[in-house]
């Protein structure tokens, strides 16, 4: 997994609640057997019309946001389908951090498993970031070590994050490798269970 430490970049405002993973990456892009190359499908129905032409006023199509690396979005971002293609597509597009007031659970887990940082802020802080990003200056910096976002005008917003997840994200640790270090515990669990619930097999 990619490590995330600090990011300075453009933040694109997307002021809609309940953006689901079907919107982040529509199903026609889920037929791939690869993780790469999904940027083309990111927010496809927001970015392109029925004929495949760019919709000019969608935020990520505006020249100033084409290389945004932070997305500021409404409440309950990433709800719906479990597709990990959503964070893969965001990252392939260059977005490494999403800021919202809440994230749906599976999407949130998927972000942490890929090194995309989901930052949860309070509603009033989200409004500040949203309004400032709509203005002339779109640069924010996100620092995971100090758990802060600096808004375009220089306001410092502190965010909370689970310490275990923070540590893994900072180091880019491989979750499977870590769990396999507890392989002995899993063996013990399985042998106990083979006795108490034999119908589940050994």
């Amino acid at each position: 997994m990619r490590a995330f430490t600090r990011l300075d970049g453009r933040a694109a405002p997307l002021e809609l609640a309940n953006i689901d993973t079907d919107q982040i990456i529509p199903k026609q892009f889920l037929k791939t057997v690869e993780r790469e190359g999904l940027a083309k499908g990111l927010f496809y129905d927001f970015r392109f019309d029925g004929e495949g032409a760019e919709i000019k006023d969608f935020v990520l199509n505006k020249p100033e946001f084409k290389n945004a690396s932070v997305l500021i979005a409404g409440d309950n971002f990433g709800c719906g389908s479990s597709r990990e293609h959503a964070p893969w597509a965001l990252m392939d597009f260059g977005i490494m951090c999403v800021i919202s007031t809440s994230f749906a659970d599976i999407f949130n887990n998927n972000c942490f498993n890929n090194g995309l940082l989901p930052v949860v802020v309070k509603p009033e802080e989200l409004s500040v970031l949203m309004e400032e990003a709509k203005g002339g200056n779109h640069m924010v910096s996100v620092d995971l070590e100090t758990q802060t976002v600096v808004s375009p005008s220089g306001q410092v917003i502190r965010f909370d994050i689970d310490p275990v997840r923070k540590e893994k994200m900072l180091k880019g640790l491989d979750a499977i490798g870590e769990t396999l270090m507890h392989g002995g515990d899993i063996d013990v669990y399985e042998s106990k269970r083979a006795l108490s619930q034999p119908w589940l097999g050994a």
């Binding site: 002021e15 809609l16 609640a17 309940n18 689901d20 079907d22 919107q23 529509p26 199903k27 026609q28 889920l30 037929k31 791939t32 057997v33 690869e34 993780r35 129905d45 029925g50 409404g74 409440d75 309950n76 709800c79 719906g80 389908s81 479990s82 597709r83 990990e84 964070p87 809440s102 749906a104 659970d105 599976i106 887990n109 998927n110 498993n113 890929n114 509603p123 409004s127 689970d162 310490p163 275990v164 979750a175 499977i176 769990t179 396999l180 507890h182 392989g183 515990d185 899993i186 669990y189 399985e190 269970r193 108490s196 619930q197 034999p198 119908w199 589940l200 097999g201």
Partner: protein
Amino acid sequence: MRGAMTRTSKTLYDKIWDAHLVNEQDGEAILYIDLHLIHEVTTPQAFAGLRVAGRKVRRPDRTLAVADHNIPTEGQALGVDAVADEEARLQLKTLARNVADNGIEFFPMGDIRNGIVHVVGPEQGRTQPGMTIVCGDSHTSTHGAFGALAHGIGTSEVEHVLATQTLRQKKAKNMLVRVDGQLGPGVTGKDIALAVIGEIGTAGGTGYVIEFAGEAVQALSMEGRMTLCNLTIEGGAKAGLIAPDDKTFAYIQGKPSAPKGAAWDMALSHWKTFFTDEDAVFDRTVVIDGSALVPMVTWGTSPEDVIPVTGNVPDPESFATPDKRAAAHRALDYMGLTAGQPISAAKIDRVFIGSCTNSRIEDMRAAAAVVQEAFLHGRLVAPHVKAMVVPGSGLVKEQAEEEGLDAIFKAAGFDWREPGCSMCLAMNPDKLQPQERCASTSNRNFEGRQGRAGRTHLVSPAMAAAAAIAGHLVDVRTFLEETA
């Protein structure tokens, strides 16, 4: 504060959690997974990851594979090579190769046991009380109907479970949703689910596992309970649970993978330990009067955008926050509806009866009963409506055909298809055309979910059947009294 040292009473969720703890450090647990269901769409990258790292599947025997998301709903007997979509074909073949390489049981397309993953697990008796069950699909919450802790995971987590048969988890909070009283006629598990989501919102369950209880929940059949738990994810919850009871055990008994003989007795006494202790404490409790519920229908593009079928489309300006107002304006525009209009005035073009929410035998029966009654009144599917029924598995299809349900549907003008996810997510050729309006028994009314610019209204199977015949959204309880 919950979790005090003195507290010994546990919720159902607490009990399942404790029974699966392999290890816990810094509040993060390694939880053992009893059953891992897999399908073609969310696994190729996980198997590829295993190969790259030189890792093996730890418990192929605790893993079961189906092909459901992108298979066509006709011509399945022709096999994968006949699937027209090249990418879908490659994905299906990749799954076949991955399961063969790893010795995982697989019901391929065309096998009578194949179908939607959340229909197949219970139908095979793989889903059992007190288990932990995961799948790379958010509606894994369905299996909670058996008192199993079941939830969706992403592809990285699929790889983690394949390699370790465990998952790293933080414990969620406990929520109780109690539905009191008896449901009125025409009101189903689907309507309870939609009413709950309307009540708590699509993010209302975030961070919680919901246990459903109360008279109306106990009275539901296993199918109705699966529908209710299926939709828990649309309320943002990690999982939904219903304590197992005699109905649960009776459903499992005799299924192909159910324990037999002495093992059955042993399993039964184990399963009976999974219930919430009387004085257990929930972090949040929501009480709903089941007797006051009416058939529900969604008006917008989020499952929380729900109203009684007797209601009117709300005014976007009535929502509390700017992002919600913006979303509601966008939803009305997308759905082609006007604030204040009666929802029953919305004329429909398509009907979809299917998906892991409502494609089991009882759903087929409920829809067919409405169709049959209308048929006896000389009514057929409205001429401008295209309606399809997609059973959840080959076995559901076979059972329905034995009962003659297919004949009822076909006589009234419905299209009777082969099993799969179909127009629930429209990855296969079954999809809405732009602006087409659909009464659907599935679980998501998101923009574009059933086809680009398609408009989805979520309803129960009986409501969908009634809409097909009326040609517009309609109250199933009274629609036959309308003049044709």
